[in-house]
């Protein structure tokens, strides 16, 4: 269990994390979702005692990370695939980490095997691809067989097989009753992995809810309506308080009214409707909706970039 309370980090004039509070529970995968620069990594570094919060506090299983007697056995973290000395081999890196907690050599071999690093374990970590670096980071996180796992963007740079492997691994670990806290900037990744979602934007928590609530709740339901009298139906529905987009002629996208209400309005006024489809917002759309005002780096549409 991870509990953050009013966690704030200010770097000079820039506030990276602004009073974030949340709880990450055991036995489920909690996703930490936010666009780049939202404060995910900073929050994770503060959990691990690497960055000192400007204010607020965070505990893991009831204690600040620094105060745990055997921290690597309590929390395993992948914070950065490059948290390795580039000239040291993967095996020696893990061996040195293990030595701090008297973790036996057999466990080092075990995590190397688990993460599929056997073939490259004796090679310098500096020559690793991003994907191999991620595997080494995950191996280091698993070293102490910890109850809590914190993984910052673990699927970054992994090949499709690796992505599926990470997904299965975190689901398996959560199934064993462990706490798994996983960050990503990709909604689609979260949709397939997480049970619970904490969405962060510009250093603030925007949403903190079970993943299905975020899919169905926040993305407002819309209805696609095709009719041969779009202008007339537009007026009728607008009068009932709907907001309406007209992507093409004879097609209305109606937000704020139930399909049944729309059908009733059309029937009453003898407007023919030849399609009536409820649209469930995808998680991706819900995420864009949630964070559209909180993205730090906006990109221009392709057309404007090429101008």
């Amino acid at each position: 269990m991870i509990e953050a309370n009013g966690l704030t980090k200010v770097y000079g004039a820039k506030t990276a994390v602004a009073g974030v509070s949340f709880t990450v529970r055991a036995g489920q995968v909690t996703g930490f979702l936010g666009p780049n620069g939202a404060g995910k990594s900073t929050t994770m570094r503060m959990i691990m005692g690497l960055d000192r919060p400007t204010s607020g506090s965070v505990t893991v299983n009831g204690l600040p990370y620094v105060r745990h007697k055997a921290p690597l056995r309590e929390v395993g973290a992948l914070l950065d695939a490059k948290a390795v000395h580039t000239s040291r081999s993967a095996y020696n890196h893990l061996l040195a980490m293990a030595a701090t907690h008297s973790i036996p050599k057999s466990r080092v071999h075990e995590v190397i095997e688990m993460t599929g690093l056997d073939a490259v374990a004796r090679k310098k970590a500096g020559g690793f691809s991003l994907g191999m670096g991620q595997r080494l980071g995950i191996a280091a996180a698993l070293l102490g067989d910890p109850q809590t796992l914190i993984l910052d963007e673990p699927v970054n740079g992994l090949d499709p097989e690796g992505v599926v492997w990470v997904r299965n691994l975190v689901r398996y670990l959560a199934g064993q009753g462990r706490t798994v806290f996983l960050s990503s900037h990709l909604m689609s990744e979260m949709a397939q992995t997480a049970d619970h979602l904490i969405v962060i934007g510009r250093g603030r928590v925007i949403a903190d809810a079970p993943i299905r609530d975020i899919i169905t709740g926040k993305g407002q339901s819309r209805v696609r309506v095709r009719t041969d009298q779009p202008d007339r139906l537009h007026k009728l529905l607008a009068a009932r308080g709907a907001s309406i987009d007209v992507p093409e002629r004879e097609l209305l996208e109606v937000t704020g009214l139930e399909p049944r209400t729309i059908a009733a309005a059309a029937l009453e006024n003898q407007v023919m409707v030849y399609e009536l489809t409820p649209l469930v917002a995808s998680l991706e759309e819900a995420y864009m909706e949630l964070t559209k005002d909180d993205v730090e780096y906006h990109s221009l549409p392709a057309a404007e970039v090429s101008k």
């Binding site: 690497l50 914070l79 020696n92 701090t100 500096g126 109850q147």
Partner: protein
């Protein structure tokens, strides 16, 4: 009674798992990062870097090489002195025994190499990102700092002492050729060996403190060179009594008073030199430790 019994048997699993987790949380049964374990980890880190081993080997080569060269040069000088009264006078002014300092003649380079090693051991943690792994494993940070300090100081001491000894063994037959004797077991020889080894260990500690404070390899090594090579020359060139006096307090100028058989004029007393060198180690090391504890990794 029966209700309690049913209650306790109805949920055996959560109780069991909570129990086992408590044992984990307390860390009572599972070992954490004690100083000795962290020291072991730092030793593994030290010996698994090729660059470290190369620097250690270079130190030995440089010390033995300079010992041999210096033995040859000293022999030539002594040879000339027997024919040239002026050279003989110069030799006498140096205290007579030239041979005894031959084995430590490469010390200026040993201190540069091992001082840089001290810088690199810590700065590379930050430049490579390894620091995040190191201080996640040892979140109290200071045990890792202390362990690294022990590793670098002990290694620097041992490598300097061993290579000085080897330089002496190489120098003895060369000096013998010129009719000069060097007794590596004499008290002055042993004193030179020990003081110089302690001194190089001190330089390595200063290097590590600089690496911790600056967190950048080039910056740390440049600062080290500044203190040990640039400052002594600059202080000599700047006119005025202040710099003449200040020069005595530079760490590189503490070795002479610490090893001299008799006090050399214009240098510190032995006890003063020991204090000054100690200060040069303790102040940056304490400062580095305090800032390491406080700063973000």
């Amino acid at each position: 009674m029966s209700a309690m019994a049913t209650e306790s048997t109805s949920s055996p699993e959560p109780a069991a798992s909570a129990g086992s987790r408590n044992v984990r949380n307390g860390g009572r049964s599972l070992p954490g990062p004690t100083f000795l374990r962290v020291l072991n980890s730092e030793v593994i880190k030290f010996r698994t870097l090729l660059s470290t081993l190369i620097l250690l080997a270079s130190t030995v080569v440089v010390m033995v090489g300079f010992g041999a060269l210096s033995a040859w040069g000293t022999g030539q000088f002594a040879d000339a002195a027997t024919r040239d009264p002026q050279a003989a006078a110069r030799m006498a002014s140096q205290g007579g025994d030239l041979a005894v300092s031959v084995p430590t003649s490469g010390i200026a380079f040993a201190q540069l190499i091992l001082g840089s090693l001290g810088v690199l051991l810590m700065s590379s943690e930050f430049t490579t990102g390894m620091a995040r792994s190191t201080f996640a494993a040892v979140p109290r940070r200071l045990p890792a700092f202390a362990a690294k300090l022990v590793v670098v100081m002990v290694t620097s001491f041992v490598v300097t002492a061993v290579s000085t000894w080897m330089a002496a063994l190489v120098a003895v037959p060369i000096l013998d050729n010129y009719g000069l004797t060097l007794d590596p077991g004499s008290s002055q020889s042993v004193k030179l060996l020990l003081v110089n080894s302690v001194y190089v260990a001190a330089v390595a500690a200063i290097g590590m403190a600089l690496g911790t404070l600056i967190r950048n390899s080039a910056g740390g090594i440049m600062s080290l060179v500044g203190i040990f090579f640039v400052a002594p020359i600059a202080f000599q060139l700047i006119p005025g009594d202040f710099f003449k006096e200040a020069r005595k307090y530079l760490p590189g100028n503490t070795v002479e008073p610490l090893t001299a058989a008799q006090h050399v004029p214009d240098t510190l007393e032995t006890w003063q030199a020991a204090l000054v060198l100690g200060g040069w180690v303790v102040i940056p090391v304490v400062l580095a430790a305090v800032l390491l504890k406080r700063r973000d990794v």
